[in-house]
């Protein structure tokens, strides 16, 4: 089951991985030419937060704003969400699961197998980001250690897993592809906005703890390395969402 899902999802994952490698190499190559001239942007704090500090004058700031805050999570989140929704609710809406689940396979096993395939996609993309960052940083003239690049890729992989698990939980609970995709994407984007804006209002600062994005980037892996507590939270959220997915799909009627 994992194998066949992976076979179906692999072309988009590989295309995304190649695209990411190319983009990151280009971003790195661009830094010596334009990075220093842009420098640190003088923008409102809210925009500054949205852009991960908006410091284009350093290699770390450049990659944080260009890759870590927007492009990386966007690609990994999009692949995880669309892949998870298509592999579960999508196959249900397309009536493929009406055949597959008439075979001797538990729904829980099906969901876990689908999740394993999506996890593999996330890891492939995270690996491509890791390689891409190493190349990009080298082309930019260096300035970020391999350990910190690894930290970003690991945090991003955990973010992708949690986001994918959210989509699987929604898809398994509802059997509706577009609803699962839309809601999971909405939660992910809201998380990014909350992580950026909540700290600006002291009364709402606590809201950032509800954002998956905070546990990915809140501790700035490119400068501070891996944050184990954040990974534990993302791991626990992933497992809790998978448990919800399994319980909800076991109990309901198959659609279609």
């Amino acid at each position: 089951m994992t194998q066949i899902t992976l076979r179906l999802r692999l072309p988009s994952a590989v295309s995304a991985a190649i695209g990411l490698l190319a983009v990151m190499a280009a971003v790195g190559a661009l830094f010596p030419a334009v990075g220093h001239s842009i420098g640190k942007l003088n923008v409102p704090k809210s925009v500054d937060n949205l852009l991960g500090g908006a410091d284009y004058g350093t290699v770390t700031g450049w990659f944080r704003s260009e890759i870590a805050i927007i492009y990386g999570p966007l690609v990994i989140g999009a692949l995880a969400i669309t892949g998870a929704s298509a592999a579960t609710a999508g196959e249900e809406e397309d009536r493929i699961l009406a055949l597959v689940l008439a075979y001797p396979i538990r729904r829980s096993r099906l969901v876990i197998a689908k999740a394993a395939a999506i996890a593999a996609v996330v890891l492939i993309v995270a690996f491509a980001i890791w390689i891409g960052l190493i190349i990009g940083v080298a082309l930019a003239g260096g300035g970020i250690t391999i350990a910190h690049i690894t930290a970003l890729a690991v945090q991003l992989a955990f973010f992708g897993l949690a986001t994918g698990a959210l989509a699987i939980a929604l898809a398994a609970g509802t059997g509706r592809r577009s609803l699962a995709t839309g809601l999971a994407a909405g939660v992910a984007i809201l998380g990014w906005l909350v992580n950026s804006f909540a700290p600006l209002i002291s009364a709402l600062t606590w809201l950032k703890y509800l954002s998956l994005f905070y546990y990915y980037a809140g501790h700035d892996p490119l400068t501070r390395g891996i944050d184990i507590p954040s990974l534990i939270v993302l791991g626990l959220v992933t497992m809790a969402l998978m448990a919800i997915a399994i319980v909800s799909i076991e109990r309901r009627d198959l659609r279609g």
Binding site: M1, Q3, I4, R7, L8, D94, R95, I96, A98, L99, V100, L101, A102, Y103, P104, I105, R106, R251, R252, D253, L254
Partner: protein, 298 residues
């Protein structure tokens, strides 16, 4: 007495607004080919999906091969071959890959059996599913339902899209598995699809079981139609008053008489005139079907 292959008790699935299945009590014996008939929306597919635990009943229960569908579904699915109505498979993958995958889900199947089914139906395994016609997809559906040699086949509209030769092949296969003592539950919305192979029939209408009987018994109570071509026009009133006659229609010198039970009175009345031709209407079996639909509608 052996355990029935399928036994349902008050099995219900209420989708609201009068749709669904209501209080189905049905028993399918082991080794029989059982036709499950009804118009679209009668509750046939709902029943089949309930038997495989794809959907949960709102009331009642069902046992398949002696096992409870709610608690022992996995064991049931190991022993059942299922062909869903509106079959769908991975469109981008070839038949070969899909069959390999499905065989793997069963923990492997006898390759010789699978190959012989592929050959028998002339299934195309090399093209992606999306490039196959409905009939060619259906052939793959039949191969996957039969390839693990299950004890029970649950087939939802199995001959949809199949050409007549493949239909023949399919009917021959049904006769073989039936002779081996295996059970077939076959749903269809037209009687002609199943009349050649079924031992008994159930007719479902608006989610409720209307009748269960052998085809032979159903025929006995069927409305039959006889087309009689006379040498000259006759007065149709003499047919209308005959016992069992429900309708008489005339076009020129040709009279079509619809009647229940024996044809004796109609034939004898016709014999008092010069009869050029006598033709039983081909759709007589569909009339059985229609009669039960109408019966409850009144």
């Amino acid at each position: 007495m052996s355990t029935p292959a399928i036994a349902t008790s008050g099995l219900s699935k209420d989708f609201g607004s009068g749709h669904g299945l209501f209080g189905l009590d049905l028993e399918v014996r082991q080794g029989e080919v059982f036709g499950f008939l009804g118009p679209n929306g009668a509750g046939k597919s709902t029943t089949l999906r309930l038997l495989l635990d794809l959907i949960k009943p709102t009331a009642g229960s069902a046992r398949v091969l002696g096992l409870d569908t709610a608690n022992e579904s996995l064991a049931i699915r190991r022993r059942v071959g299922f062909l869903p109505g509106d079959l769908a498979m991975y469109p981008r993958l070839t038949g070969q890959v899909v069959l390999d995958f499905l065989a793997q889900l069963r923990g492997g199947v006898d390759q010789r059996v699978r190959d012989s089914l592929v050959e028998r139906f002339g299934a195309d395994l090399n093209r992606p599913i999306r490039q196959l016609s409905t009939g060619n997809r259906q052939k793959l559906g039949l191969v996957q339902a039969f390839m693990h040699e299950p004890e029970l086949f649950i087939l939802d509209e199995p001959i949809a899209g199949l050409d007549p030769l493949v239909q023949q092949s399919f009917h021959a296969l049904l006769a073989e598995v039936s002779a081996q003592g295996r059970t077939v539950l076959l749903s269809s919305h037209t009687l002609s699809e199943v009349e050649r192979v079924t031992h008994r029939l159930a007719i479902l209408r608006e989610g409720r079981l209307v009748v269960v009987d052998s085809l032979e018994n159903l025929r006995k109570v069927a409305v039959q139609r006889l087309e009689i071509e006379f040498a000259a026009a006759v007065d149709t009133r003499e047919f209308r008053v005959l016992p069992g006659v429900v309708d008489v229609a005339a076009t020129g010198a040709t009279v079509t008489v619809s009647f229940e039970g024996s044809a004796d009175a109609v034939v004898k009345a016709a014999a008092s005139h010069e009869v050029r031709a006598l033709r039983p209407r081909e759709d007589e079996l569909e009339d059985i079907f229609l009669r039960y639909y109408r019966k409850d509608a009144t």
